[in-house]
Amino acid sequence: MRKVVVPALAVLAAIGLVASIHAVFFDAPLQYGLDDTGRLNGSSLFFNQKIFYFHVAHAFVLFTAVFVAGVSSIGFLATRDARWDDVASASTDVAVAFGAVVLATGSIWAKAAWDVWWNWEPRLTMSLLLWLILVGYVLVRRFAGPSADRVAAGMAIFGMVGVPFIYAMVGQDSHPASGRNGVVATLGPGMRGAFWLSVATFYVWFAALVLLRISGTRAERELRELRERGLDLGVLS
């Protein structure tokens, strides 16, 4: 099944990427910052706002991945079924890449809008902290030896539970708002379609990569188990 699903999702993501680039750059209107009297207020949210469509889509995926990893780690610890662990590991691996995109696009936008690459603004900080947890997870997986799966599962669960604390800790600041009055909820009519198309595209892309990665982690695990069995039987040395 995977031989069909992964290429299908990848093709879908490729079409979606072309379509969302078209929608973002040709259909969606430019964002202008207007003051109360309706005049341009000199905000730099003009063309560089286009990066928002990709930045926020990746950030959505990053959050989703943290929860996918946390929930499947709970499944792993509860059932000791290594297939759960494959999902957690694969989703974290891919999420590290998506998180890197979030941080990079956020930095590029910050340079254009605020003229600094990094300013410890709350949501930047929050993405960075989530990303650090994911990178820590990957390091643990790689270097914690035989108990890597359990240690990493614990880290994924603790990381997931820590998300609200990180959110409460960083508070609110100058980042474009989120929530009911936030940027996403108040997008102009021409932008809404482009935005959700972009979000859907990157979710499909994420799913394709995770499924692909799961086959990789599963193959690695099965090879390891076979090797251990061979060692136990004395066939391998």
């Binding site: 610890l77 509860a78 902290l129 650090l132 947890i133 820590g136 390091l139 643990v140 270097f143 914690a144 030896g145 035989p146 108990s147 890597a148 359990r150 240690v151 599962a153 614990g154 880290m155 669960i157 603790f158 990381g159 539970v161 820590g162 604390f165 990180i166 409460a168 800790m169």
Partner: protein, 226 residues
Amino acid sequence: MSLVSHAARVAWKDLRIELRSLEIFATMAFFSALIVVIYSFAFPRQAGGAAGSVPGMLWTAIAFTGTIALGRAFDRERENDTMRALLLAPVPRLAVFLGKALAMAVLVLAVAVVAVPLLAVFLSVPLFDHALELVLVIVLGAVGIAVVGSVFAATLLKVRSRDVLLPVILYPLLIPLFVAGTKATAALLATPANLEAAWYWIEFVGIYDAVFLVLSIWVFESLVIE
């Protein structure tokens, strides 16, 4: 015997080992003194005093000494594979975990008791103007470090690179606690002290502790059992 007395027994065992050798306490107290000295060189002592950086110094010192102490304390259980014996003991594993965490919290606090006065003296900051709040936030911080730290130090027991991995795991997870502790301390040191903000962050650390204590109790057993 009840859960509490089992846990107390495990904790007392660890603390008695420590009291007899003072290995961790002596080295960590010295290490935290060194950190304070290094910090007082690293941060320029401007006219207004170093009050602005003291909260960060205090909590980084607690973070550094805490993780090293945790690693070393759990190493003792590894040397003769006594962790296995502890887990096989006919008591609830919850009691083992709570006892370990309690002993760790006491150890982290003991080191903080050395570091805080040193900071107050060397950097001449009025850390004790609001002693009650300061003690409370440090106690809560130590409990949080001990709880999360005990789970992972116990799980990493058999891992070769555990000394490196423990901070790799703990620091990202504990950042909210360290930041909240730093902000609470900064609010207490402000002139005039911002008690409202301090209490907000103290409550934050308290809730963090409660949530992660419950979570640790849930996952401890499935993490340490192979």
